[in-house]
């Protein structure tokens, strides 16, 4: 599992912790790969409008045909840019009509909401595709432009797109049956005749007016005369007027309205060049090769009502009708937000009462009776009341249900992240960290004023995660559950590669340049790469490239999910995903559950099975000094989270001696500190090379356990409570405001409140500024203590196995491959160094995976030198799947049909298949 760094480069962060002035380099900001790396899981920052001034237009106009860059590699502007430009031009509404999907609508709706721009939602359906159109210079198929009339229309359209995507049996190849589409959408949508690939203009070009009339007649028959409008576009082509005249004649003949659109592909005229580069990338050829297909000039940009009125003066009413349609079709995307499916409760219970019941039932197991632990029960009562107030019991019941399924089926799982701040989660068995004993701040997990559901992410042993996912599908129904997409965006490397190809550079040059990109952002751009490649690569950055599957996010809702967001095939076999990523889902009100695969849980499971034991974190001997001795020697190959070379380098300096040191270690160790060449102030202080000091005595309470260096997000909240008198809810608000740079207003408000609070406690001037700076830098960087704590348990469990059961540890890691940092060869070498006998694969002795051969003793003794731990213990028998070219399946078949008596037997079926 990789740690992804936050927005802030390490040296910068270090500077801020040390209190020096900050300069943020905007080029270093990126949004990560979309996967949920623990704790500082990055989300897209909230949209913040740039200060645009509106240019008034005397004519009302709404753009009804507009592609964002979520018409993958077709549109050349982000949804936000389009919304901004539409606002600037004074449009009365803007529609987003991407190809066969609602990919960009959430981002668009969010931006438009901030700008108070009315939004229309639609899609351009690709009819009659013979196959995916990537790589075609001129995609074939007919386009049908459909706009939803209202939220019901939106749901129907979403459903139609989903069914077509699924029917196509392949990514990028939806299959619509026009009659069926019309039956499903009639009276709920407005159909425009579309661009040159629309059925009517295409027929006009190919077969003249009568052919076009036939197509138009068909559309009217299918969708109804009230639901079809003839679309006129003007792109500065010599044949535009002729075509528009013919279309206007047709419209009069059928008594249909004409409506002007811009068939927009980018916000401003300057987007043309990037659009041509994108077309080349999509067609997988250079712009030279594609020149004969490229549009002639940059005309597909947004235009104001005045401009449109001038261009469409020949067709009176076409522009104002567009505005009228815009007003009639616009609605807020919030209206489609679904709710959670009902949680499972026992008869006679409400969701809340059932949750209460389950919690107290679990609390007896975890804490004993109310009389034993009044503090714990007080916390439980408090948390339950918050949950009730927020109306989230159903959410907890669903998570509990998944965890229960895992427990019942002996699948290791554990809640990660901030859920460990909750005693309810501990009581329900969702997490294994006792929030009460460790004094963790519940408000970091769930604050009373929070608007969204909390995040409970479950780590499930990776080899069996699929079972949990299938359980959710089975339990809630395939129509109500779906996996979240991961929008793969352009990163500097891929952008340089694709842009270089569009400019016609050879694959070798693309390789060479994209390899030089690593340092991009913190050093000057390498002079080897031609300027124009860099310029357009920069423009391309953060553009969506395609959809992938999110590592484990599932959404559940109370209605068919395909009516909220279209679903399409993923590249992976038999997987369907939503067209939205996790941020989109969250913004649109879909509730996401993360079911993540964790290889170490699989390894632990195998290992504990091998030593005939059960992993029980509550009974682990957390004070076993022999384990810490081993870690202090950096003897940590294979140990969860602390095995990489960089991490090994800090272990001897950090010298963990107790469990909390491991918690710090998990939070502290990141690629940044070591690569940056600087030493984390915590390590300096731990080694007494720097005095432990606090800028203000009030900060001691929060920072004491980490030697005055803030490490955890909870500390940030505690600081706000201690130095400025915030209550926990406000503290959480401050953390989130600082972290996500939400709205400046709210931040300013909280900042005033913070300074006020500090002033009341006598903290002013430089000290106050220093505290503010530390807090704000930290908001992004800090690690939730609860998460570090959950992981620290796994660190200890794996370290304990390595110390006392090196053979089982090695065999289990081999069985859970691929995972971790080291190759199987290194793991085997390490086991041998610890005295474990590792036997080679044997066709008659090996299973598919590595196994143990019993030895004369079961576990390593205390006080032995490392080289002796495995001596006399069980030996590892390598599995057949470790034989090169054999593979898992064949190894399994061979293992099944053992024993073999001669060389010929394994070659016979059924072994050889």
């Amino acid at each position: 599992m990789g740690w992804s760094s936050s927005d802030l480069p390490w040296p910068e962060f270090e500077r801020r912790l040390s209190g020096r002035p900050l300069v943020v380099d905007p080029t270093t900001i990126d949004y990560g790969d979309g996967s949920d790396t623990p704790a500082w899981m990055r989300s897209r920052p909230r949209y913040k409008p740039r200060g645009t001034t509106q240019r008034p237009s005397t004519v009302d106009y709404a753009e009804l045909h507009c592609h964002t860059n979520f018409s993958f590699l077709d549109g050349a502007s982000q949804p936000e840019e389009l919304a901004e430009e539409a606002y600037r031009l004074g449009l009365t509404a803007l529609a987003v009509t991407d190809h066969d999907g609602f990919y960009g609508v959430v981002r668009f709706a969010e931006a438009a909401r901030e700008l108070t721009l009315p939004t229309v939602f639609g899609a351009e359906l690709s009819l009659g595709l013979p196959g995916p159109q990537n790589g075609e210079p001129d995609p074939v198929g007919r386009h049908l432009l459909v706009l939803a009339r209202d939220p019901t229309g939106y749901a129907a359209l979403s459903r139609v797109i989903s069914l077509a995507q699924i029917a196509g049996k392949e990514k990028g190849k939806p299959e619509y049956d026009l009659e069926q589409v019309a039956a499903d959408l009639r009276d709920q949508v407005l159909v425009l005749t579309g661009c040159r690939k629309g059925p009517v203009p295409a027929a006009l070009l190919a077969g003249g007016e009568e052919a076009a009339a036939g197509e138009l007649d068909r559309l009217v028959a299918l969708f109804g005369a009230d639901s079809v409008a003839v679309e006129l576009t003007q792109h500065g082509y010599p044949e535009d007027d002729e075509r528009n005249d013919a279309l206007a004649v047709l419209a009069r003949r059928f008594r249909l309205p004409t409506v002007a659109t811009g068939n927009v592909h980018y916000a401003k005229p300057g987007g043309y060049r990037l659009a041509t580069a994108l077309a080349a990338i999509r067609a997988r050829r250079s712009m030279d090769e594609l020149a004969g297909w490229l549009p002639a000039a940059g005309v597909a940009h947004l235009r104001s009502g005045d401009e449109m009125a001038a261009r469409f003066a020949r067709y009176p009413g076409a522009v104002t009708r567009a505005a009228a349609y815009g007003a009639a079709l616009a609605f807020d995307l919030k209206l489609v937000a679904p709710a959670l499916p009902p949680g499972k409760v026992a008869p006679g219970h409400t969701e809340m009462s059932w949750l209460r019941h389950l919690t107290y039932e679990g609390a007896v197991r975890r804490y004993g009776t109310r009389a034993d632990r009044p503090d714990a029960y007080r916390q439980l009562d408090h948390e339950l009341s918050v949950i009730e107030k927020l109306g989230f019991p159903g959410y907890f019941l669903i998570v509990y249900d998944i965890v229960k399924f895992c427990k019942d089926n002996n699948i290791y799982c554990q809640g990660r992240g901030s859920a460990a701040n909750s005693a309810v989660c501990y009581a329900l068995g969702i997490t294994n960290v006792d929030a009460v004993t460790w004094g963790l701040l519940f408000e970091r997990f769930l604050a009373a004023e929070r608007d969204g559901y909390p995040d409970i992410d479950l780590d499930i042993e990776s080899d069996r995660r699929e079972e949990a996912i299938q359980y959710v599908y089975g339990e809630y129904g395939r129509h109500y559950a779906a996996q979240v997409a991961n929008v793969i965006s352009y990163r500097p490397r891929s952008a340089v590669r694709d842009v270089a190809r569009a400019f016609g550079y050879s694959p070798g040059q693309q390789d060479a340049w994209s390899k030089q990109i690593d340092r991009w952002g913190d050093t000057a751009v390498n002079e080897d790469i031609p300027d124009h490649v860099v310029r357009y690569a920069n423009q391309l950055q953060t553009f969506p490239r395609h959809l992938g599957i999110h590592s484990g996010g599932m959404v559940l809702c109370d209605r068919p999910v395909i009516e909220v967001c279209p679903v399409e095939w993923a590249r992976m076999a038999d997987r369907t995903v939503l067209q939205w990523d996790k941020d989109d889902c969250a913004d649109a009100g879909l509730v996401k559950f993360d079911l993540l695969g964790l290889g170490m849980l699989s390894a632990l499971h195998y290992a504990f099975d091998m030593i005939n034991s059960e992993l029980d974190l509550s009974t682990m001997p957390l004070d076993d000094q022999e384990v810490y001795d081993m870690l202090c020697r950096a003897d940590s190959v294979g140990v969860f989270q602390v095995e990489s070379r960089a991490q090994m380098a800090t272990l001897p300096r950090l010298k963990p001696r107790e469990f909390y040191d491991l918690v710090v270690e998990v939070a502290l160790i990141r690629p940044g500190p070591i690569q940056g060449g600087s030493v984390h102030p915590y390590i300096r202080r731990k080694n007494r090379r720097e005095k432990v000091s606090y800028p203000h005595p009030l900060m001691e309470n929060a920072l004491k356990k980490t030697l005055g260096v803030p490490l955890f997000q909870e500390q940030l909240m505690q600081l706000a409570i201690d130095v400025a008198g915030f209550n926990p809810n406000e503290a959480d608000k401050l953390r989130r405001a600082m972290g996500s740079k939400r709205s400046m207003e709210r931040m300013a408000e909280l900042k005033t409140r913070l300074y006020q609070g500090m002033a009341e406690r006598g903290i002013t001037g430089e000290v106050a500024d220093g505290i503010y700076l530390k807090l704000s830098s930290f908001a992004n960087f800090g690690f939730p203590e609860s998460h570090a704590m959950s992981f620290a348990y796994l660190v200890f469990a794996s370290a304990w196995l390595k110390r006392y059961h090196p053979a089982a540890f090695c065999a289990a890691l081999l069985g859970a491959q691929p995972m971790g940092f080291y190759s199987p060869q290194t793991l085997v070498d390490d086991a041998r160094r610890h005295g474990v006998t590792v036997l080679r694969p044997d066709i008659n002795a090996s299973h598919a995976k590595a196994t143990l051969v019993p030895g004369t003793r079961e576990k390593a003794g205390k006080g032995e030198p490392p080289g002796q731990w495995g001596k006399g213990g069980p030996a590892v028998r390598m599995g057949l799947s470790s034989v090169r070219t054999l593979g898992e399946d064949v190894a399994k078949r061979i293992a099944e049909h053992r024993p073999y008596h001669d060389m010929v037997e394994p070659t016979r079926s059924p072994v050889s298949g």
Binding site: D138, G236, Y237, P238, E239, D241, P269, Y272, R273, T276, A277, M287, D288, A291, G292, W293, L294, P295, A296, A297, G298, V299, H301, R303, E307, A310, A502, F503, G504, S506, P507, G508, Q509, Q510, D511, A512, W513, K515, D528, H532
Partner: protein
């Protein structure tokens, strides 16, 4: 066992590309065949380029690598002078492959006093006549001598098997066998040679047995000495300088027939004909003729006559007369009878037109006659491509070219656009903004009132190649007197690019 002298020119495909195509061989250069590097220059090697790399890997290591496609014919052609240089000194050379040749060492070493002396002479002579660096190795047998040449060693008589013993097994150049031997623990030629020959034959087969003999220094294959290539040129020296066309024509016919007979004798025919002449003033003239069919005796004679006619009658040439004439075939192919089209493309009229145009070309030079070929583009000027007569015309696929001007096309397209001025009713020049808005309504073209206009039709072409980029807006205008023009506004300047009649 015969002492063999091996001449080796390192990186020959690169050197050949340098000699023939002027590729800068001191810079990173790689020669590629089937997308893999087959040879590279020393500078490329220094950047990490190695034979066997894929093109993109090689360019990945060295983005500014000059890539040349492998052309064995080019290598062979360029090696010819080197072999000739060697043949100047010794007879009986076997060309192993372009870039490497072997010869029996006995003769030259006796003639030049020693093997070392012979080697030195040969290297020096090659360097002087061909400007090519060569290395020489001497050993028993071609295989060992070839390995010796890599390090420029003269292996003493009888020392060959010792010399081979420590060399890596990969030198056998049989990848599969080498891979297998390595896995069996055999890593040097000596180790391989030490295996019993019968066992090697039984276990690895005939080819391996042969390799085994080589590894032991028992290379008994005699040299296959090359035959110098047939000399196909024909030429004649005239005691009386040719000054009149009719005498020249007579000479031409004779020469043409001799050339044709000579080609036919070798079963060859040529697709290009080179004609070279020396005038009385010592001026060298030459010209190559292309022909899309194969040249017959009559066709050769015609071309020679036309060419001589051209040279003798062209003004300013003066009465120098031709004192020597030489014909040399180029683009020689195996002649297996020429197939002409079944109908249509090989008629009598076509032949006559063809002949006439070729004749004109003979008089005025190859770049004087063009054929117009349709091409892709958005404006009338782009849609025609001029191809020299007789050259490959090629054909472009029909692409949509969005924004192209539809028919009718202007009848006249001036070769250089004519400058123009367009004013609105108030006399202000008309312009177009980036958002495609006119700054005024076109009312007059120069002083002529405009009766009607269409546009603006923008084009922003080839912006990615700044030298060829063109950003312009097109208009059609009709004047009050009925004339119509295609106008273009680019960088603030109006031009007339087409006239409609």
């Amino acid at each position: 066992m015969s002492r063999t002298l091996y001449v080796w020119c390192p990186d020959w495909p690169v050197i050949a590309a340098g000699l023939v195509e002027g590729v800068p061989v001191h810079e990173p250069v790689a020669v590629l065949a089937a997308n893999r590097v087959v040879a590279c220059s020393a500078a490329a090697r220094a950047e990490g380029v190695r034979p066997g790399l894929r093109r993109r890997e090689a360019q990945g290591r060295c983005p500014y690598l000059v890539v040349v496609l492998d052309d064995p014919a080019r290598d062979a052609r360029a090696f010819e002078p080197v072999v000739e240089a060697v043949e100047d000194l010794v007879a009986g050379v076997e060309v192993i492959r372009p870039g490497a040749a072997a010869l029996a060492a006995r003769g030259p070493s006796r003639y030049f006093g020693s093997e070392a002396g012979a080697a030195e002479r040969i290297v020096e002579h090659i360097a002087q006549t061909c400007r090519v660096e060569a290395q020489i190795g001497v050993a028993d047998g071609v295989f060992a001598a070839g390995l010796a040449a890599r390090t420029g060693r003269l292996v003493p008589d009888g020392g060959t098997s010792d010399f081979l013993a420590d060399i890596d097994i990969a030198a056998l150049d049989r990848p599969e066998l080498v891979d297998l031997l390595r896995r069996l623990g055999v890593r040097t030629l000596g180790g391989f040679a030490a295996l019993p020959a019968a066992d090697v034959l039984a276990r690895f087969g005939l080819d391996a047995a042969l390799a085994h003999r080589l590894a032991g220094g028992r290379d008994e294959r005699p040299l296959a000495v090359r035959q110098p290539p047939p000399d196909l040129d024909v030429g004649q020296v005239f005691d009386e300088p040719l000054e009149r066309v009719d005498t020249a024509a007579f000479a031409a016919r004779q020469l043409a027939e001799r050339l044709h007979a000579r080609l036919a004798g070798h079963g060859l025919a040529c697709t290009r004909l080179g004609i070279a002449a020396l005038t009385g003033h010592g001026e060298e003239l030459h010209r190559t003729w292309r022909h899309d069919g194969l040249l017959t005796a009559a066709a050769i004679a015609d071309r020679v006559r036309w060419q001589l006619d051209g040279w003798l009658t062209r003004s300013g040439r003066g009465p120098g007369g031709l004192v020597r004439l030489r014909l040399y075939p180029d683009g020689v192919v195996e002649y297996a009878g020429l197939q002409l089209g079944l109908w249509g493309d090989a008629g009598e009229d076509r032949d006559r037109a063809h002949r006439a145009l070729t004749r004109v070309q003979g008089l005025l030079g190859p770049d004087a006659v063009y054929t117009a070929v349709p091409a892709g583009g958005r404006d009338p000027g782009d849609r025609i491509r001029l191809v020299p007569w007789g050259d490959e015309r090629g054909s472009e696929p029909e692409l949509p070219w969005p924004g192209g001007l539809p028919a009718p096309s202007p009848a006249t397209v001036p070769p250089v656009p004519l400058p123009a001025e367009v004013y609105d009713a108030d006399g202000a020049p008309v312009g177009v903004t980036a958002r495609l808005e006119l700054t005024g309504v076109p009312a007059r073209l120069g002083t002529d009132p405009i009766a009607g206009w269409a546009g603006p039709w923008p084009v922003d072409e080839r912006w990615w190649a700044p030298a060829e980029a063109s950003r312009r807006v097109r208009f059609q205008v009709r004047l009050a007197d009925g004339r119509a023009y295609l106008l273009v506004l680019s960088a603030g300047a109006w031009t007339i690019q087409g006239v409609y009649d």
